[in-house]
C-alpha cells in the first residue's frame, strides 16, 4: 500500500495563552489517502477545528505548544520554513471557512483576490490569471461568472459567497482542501448545493478533503470516512457506512440516538447523553467520556485514556469495553 497523502501522528495542541494551559488536542493520529474525503465530527470544543488548523499551521505559534508530526504529500509540515510554509499554504493545502464574509477581503473584488493569489504563487500574466479566475467561477457554478468576478463580497448572497470562497481556495490547484463548517451558516436549500459541489470537486479534481462539521448529516453527504472527536481525541473512526450502520464507541452511539429524526413517535422522549462535555483544562482520569457513558466500568475511570482498538473492517474505536457494543447480529464488516 502506498503512503497516505496526509499522515498525522500523535498530534497534540496545547494553548498556553490563558491562566491554565488547555490541551485542545490530545494525541490525534489520522491518515488520509489521495482523493479521499474525511469528516471530523464532534461538538464544540472537541478539537476538530484545532486539528485541522494544525495541518496549515494556523494555530497561534506563540500561544500554543504543538507536538507530534504532520506530513502532507511529502512535506514535513512542522519543519517548513517561513517561505516554504507560505508556498505550501495555497498550493498544496487550502482552506474554506464557515463565514465567507469574514474570510474574504471586503475592499477588493473577488476577481482581484483570486488573481492576486494566483500571481503570488505562479509567474503568470494578469490576463492569464484572470482567465483562470473565470474558469474557477464557472467550475464552482457561479451564474454570470464574468460579471461576478467584478463583484465585492458584500454584493453576493451567502451561497454565492461560499462558492466564491471555494473558487479562491482552488486558485492555486491545491491537492487538499480543508473545510471548516463550510455549510453551517447556509440555508438548507443552499447547504445541500454546496455539499454536492464539494463532492463533485473531490471527484473531478481528485481533491482530498478534510471536512469539519458538527452535523452528521452534512458529513454523510460528503465524506467517505468519518472520524468522531471527543474532548481532543478521535474516539472512533470508520467508513461513513459502517459508522452510520453500527457505531461502536458509546459516544457515537449516544450521538446518533439522541438525534431527532424522521419517523419518531410524537411525544416520545429522545435518548440523551447525560451531562455535558468536559472542561479541557481539567480532564478526568482515564476515558474522558466515562462520566457520561452508559457502559463505563471502574477500569474506564483509571489511569491513562484508553488506546485505540482496531476492529474488523479497518475501523477503530478508543474504548475499553468496545466488545460490548458489537451488534448482536452477525456484525460482519460491510463490503
Amino acid at each position: 500500500m502506498t503512503d497516505p497523502y496526509v499522515r498525522i501522528r500523535d498530534l497534540g495542541v496545547t494553548f498556553t495563552g490563558g491562566a491554565k494551559p488547555v490541551r485542545a488536542v490530545g494525541g490525534v493520529s489520522l491518515d488520509i489517502r489521495e482523493g479521499e474525503a474525511v469528516a471530523l465530527i464532534g461538538e464544540s470544543g472537541s478539537g476538530k477545528s484545532v486539528t485541522m488548523r494544525a495541518i496549515m499551521r494556523l494555530n497561534p505559534e506563540k500561544r500554543s505548544r504543538i507536538e507530534g508530526s504532520i506530513h502532507v504529500g511529502g512535506h514535513d509540515v512542522m519543519k517548513l520554513g517561513a517561505r516554504r510554509l507560505a508556498r505550501f499554504r495555497g498550493a498544496e493545502v487550502a482552506m474554506i471557512f464557515q463565514e465567507p464574509l469574514l474570510a474574504l477581503d471586503p475592499v477588493y473584488t473577488l476577481g482581484a483576490q483570486i488573481t492576486e493569489s494566483i500571481r503570488r504563487h505562479e509567474p503568470v500574466s494578469r490576463a492569464e490569471a484572470r482567465a483562470r479566475a473565470l474558469q474557477l467561477f464557472e467550475r464552482v457554478r457561479i451564474p454570470s461568472p464574468e460579471r461576478r468576478l467584478d463583484s465585492y463580497p458584500h454584493e453576493m448572497s451567502g451561497g454565492m459567497r461560499q462558492r466564491a470562497m471555494i473558487a479562491l481556495a482552488l486558485a492555486c490547484r491545491p491537492k487538499l482542501l480543508l473545510a471548516d463548517e463550510p455549510t453551517t451558516a447556509l440555508d438548507a436549500t443552499v447547504q445541500i448545493q454546496v455539499l454536492l459541489l464539494l463532492r463533485e470537486l473531490q471527484r473531478d479534481l481528485g481533491l482530498s478533503i478534510i471536512f469539519v462539521t458538527h452535523d452528521i448529516g452534512a458529513a454523510v453527504e460528503v465524506a467517505d470516512r468519518i472520524a468522531v472527536m471527543y474532548a481532543g481525541r478521535i474516539v472512533e473512526e470508520a467508513s461513513a457506512r459502517d459508522l452510520m450502520r453500527a457505531p461502536r464507541h458509546p459516544y457515537t452511539i449516544g450521538l446518533l440516538k439522541s438525534r431527532a429524526h424522521g419517523a419518531m413517535v410524537k411525544g416520545a422522549r429522545l435518548d440523551t447523553i447525560p451531562g455535558a462535555p468536559p472542561d479541557l483544562a481539567n480532564l478526568p482520569a482515564g476515558c474522558a467520556f466515562a462520566p457520561r457513558c452508559f457502559l463505563a466500568a471502574d477500569s474506564c475511570r483509571r489511569d491513562d485514556p484508553p488506546p485505540l482498538v482496531a476492529l474488523d473492517g479497518g475501523r477503530t474505536a478508543r474504548c475499553l469495553r468496545v466488545e460490548h457494543t458489537h451488534p448482536d447480529a452477525i456484525g460482519t464488516p460491510a463490503h
Binding site: E43, S44, P143, S157, G158, G159, M160, D187, A188, T189, V190, Q191, I192, Q193, L195, L196, R199, H214, D215, I216, G217, A218, V220, E221, S239, A240, R241, M244, G254, L255, S258, R259, A260, H261, G262, M264, K266, G267, R269, L270, D271, T272, I273, P274, A276, P277, R292
Partner: protein, 358 residues
C-alpha cells in the same frame, strides 16, 4: 341533516378542529425601511413579514420553519410585540392585545419567549436567581415569594438551586444557561412560550436533553409552544402543526406529519428534500433547488417562489396565490393546488416551457 362533509374547504373553521385558537394573528405586516440618499429617506423596504394570518391552538406546539430572511424571527418578535407591527392585530384568548381588557403588560405575562443566544439573553451582572425572579417582582410578586418560586423552577429545569442559584451566567455552560432562560420564561406562569431557535446553539447531546425538558414542562404546566427553528428534524419531532414561511409569507400550514410526508407546496417539498440523507448508500444526487432565496428587499412579484419553482406557469409571476385549504387542516399558497385558480387554464393557454424545448 346531511353528514358533515370533511373534504369541504371552509376557511372560517379553525385549522385544527379539535382545539380552539388561543392566539390569533390577522393581517400581520412588518416592513423595515432602508434609509439612504441625501435626505435619509426610506428608499426601500424589507418585506420581513407580509400579511400573515395564523392561529395558535390551545395546548399545541406550532412549529415555524423557513430559511433566513423568511420572516420567522420577525414573526416571533411581532407575536411578543417586541417590535410594533405596521399592520395587523393580535387576539389572545378572545381579547385584542393592547385593548383595555388585555393591556400589553398583562399579555406579555402570559406569553414569554426564549431566544437562541443563551448568554446575551441574561444580564451578566445578575445572579441567575435574581434574573429569574426579576420578572415576577416587576409584576408585583413580593421578593421572598418570587425567590421561592425561582428555586422550585430551577429544580424543575434540572439545576440544583443550592448549587446554581447564586451563580452568574458566565459560570454556566450553554445548555445550563438555556435551562435558566426556560426557567425565567416560566416564572410568570405564562400560557404560551415562543421558542426562537432556542436549541439551535446547543451541542447535539445537550439539545436532546433540552428538548426532553421542553416536552415535560409542556405537559406539566399545560403550555402552548410556538417553536421556531431552521432544523427540520427537530421541528418535526416537537410540532403538532407546522407553518412554512418563504420571504415573509406563509406558504404552507398543516398537521406536522402530513406536511412532512405529503408536502403540498413546491417550496416545502424542496426544503424537505434538501435535508441531508443520513444514509451513505443513498446520498442526495441533485440539489432540489438552484440558487439562493431572493432578497426580501425586492421580493418577486406574484407568487414569491416563482423564481425558483420547478413547476411555474407564466401566470404565477403576476398573481399572488392565497393561502387556501387543500384538505382538512392543511392550507397551501400555491396556484397549482387550487383547481379554480386559473393555473391549469394557463397551462392550456400557454404551452409548458418544458414542452417547448422537448
Amino acid at each position: 341533516m346531511s353528514p358533515p362533509d370533511t373534504s369541504r374547504a371552509d376557511s372560517a373553521r379553525p385549522l385544527n378542529g379539535a382545539g380552539e385558537a388561543l392566539l390569533t394573528v390577522r393581517g400581520l405586516k412588518k416592513y423595515f425601511p432602508i434609509r439612504g440618499g441625501i435626505l435619509n429617506r426610506a428608499v426601500k423596504r424589507v418585506h420581513a413579514v407580509d400579511d400573515v394570518d395564523l392561529e395558535v391552538m390551545r395546548g399545541e406546539t406550532l412549529g415555524v420553519v423557513g430559511e433566513s430572511g423568511c420572516g420567522k424571527s420577525t414573526t416571533a418578535r411581532l407575536l411578543m410585540e417586541l417590535i410594533e407591527p405596521d399592520e395587523g392585530e393580535l387576539i389572545f384568548d378572545g381579547c385584542k392585545v393592547g385593548s383595555r381588557e388585555l393591556p400589553l403588560k398583562e399579555y406579555r405575562r402570559q406569553v414569554q419567549m426564549v431566544f437562541q443566544d443563551s448568554y446575551s439573553s441574561l444580564n451578566p451582572r445578575l445572579t441567575i436567581e435574581d434574573s429569574i425572579a426579576f420578572g415576577a417582582q416587576v409584576h408585583g410578586t413580593p421578593k421572598r415569594e418570587a425567590l421561592a418560586r425561582t428555586h422550585d423552577l430551577l429544580a424543575r429545569v434540572g439545576l440544583d438551586p443550592a448549587r446554581f442559584a447564586g451563580r452568574y451566567p458566565h459560570e454556566l455552560s450553554g445548555g445550563q444557561r438555556q435551562r435558566v432562560n426556560i426557567a425565567r420564561a416560566l416564572a410568570l406562569r405564562p400560557r404560551v412560550i415562543i421558542l426562537d431557535e432556542a436549541v439551535s446553539a446547543l451541542d447535539k447531546s445537550v439539545e436532546a436533553q433540552v428538548l426532553n425538558l421542553l416536552t415535560d414542562l409542556k405537559a406539566e404546566f399545560g403550555l402552548t409552544y410556538v417553536f421556531i427553528s431552521h432544523d427540520l428534524n427537530v421541528v418535526r419531532f416537537v410540532s403538532d402543526r407546522v407553518l412554512v414561511m418563504y420571504l415573509g409569507k406563509v406558504v404552507e400550514l398543516g398537521e406536522a406529519e402530513r406536511v412532512y410526508t405529503h408536502p403540498q407546496h413546491p417550496y416545502t417539498a424542496a426544503l424537505l428534500s434538501s435535508m441531508p440523507s443520513m444514509d451513505p448508500d443513498h446520498r442526495t444526487e441533485e440539489p432540489p433547488l438552484a440558487g439562493d432565496p431572493p432578497n426580501p428587499i425586492d421580493p418577486p412579484t406574484g407568487c414569491r417562489f416563482h423564481t425558483r419553482c420547478p413547476s411555474i406557469r407564466p401566470f404565477c409571476a403576476t398573481r399572488e396565490p392565497p393561502l387556501a385549504d387543500v384538505e382538512r387542516d392543511h392550507a397551501v399558497a400555491c396556484h397549482a393546488r387550487v383547481p379554480a385558480s386559473g393555473y391549469h387554464d394557463d397551462a392550456a393557454a400557454v404551452p409548458d416551457p418544458e414542452k417547448i424545448t422537448a
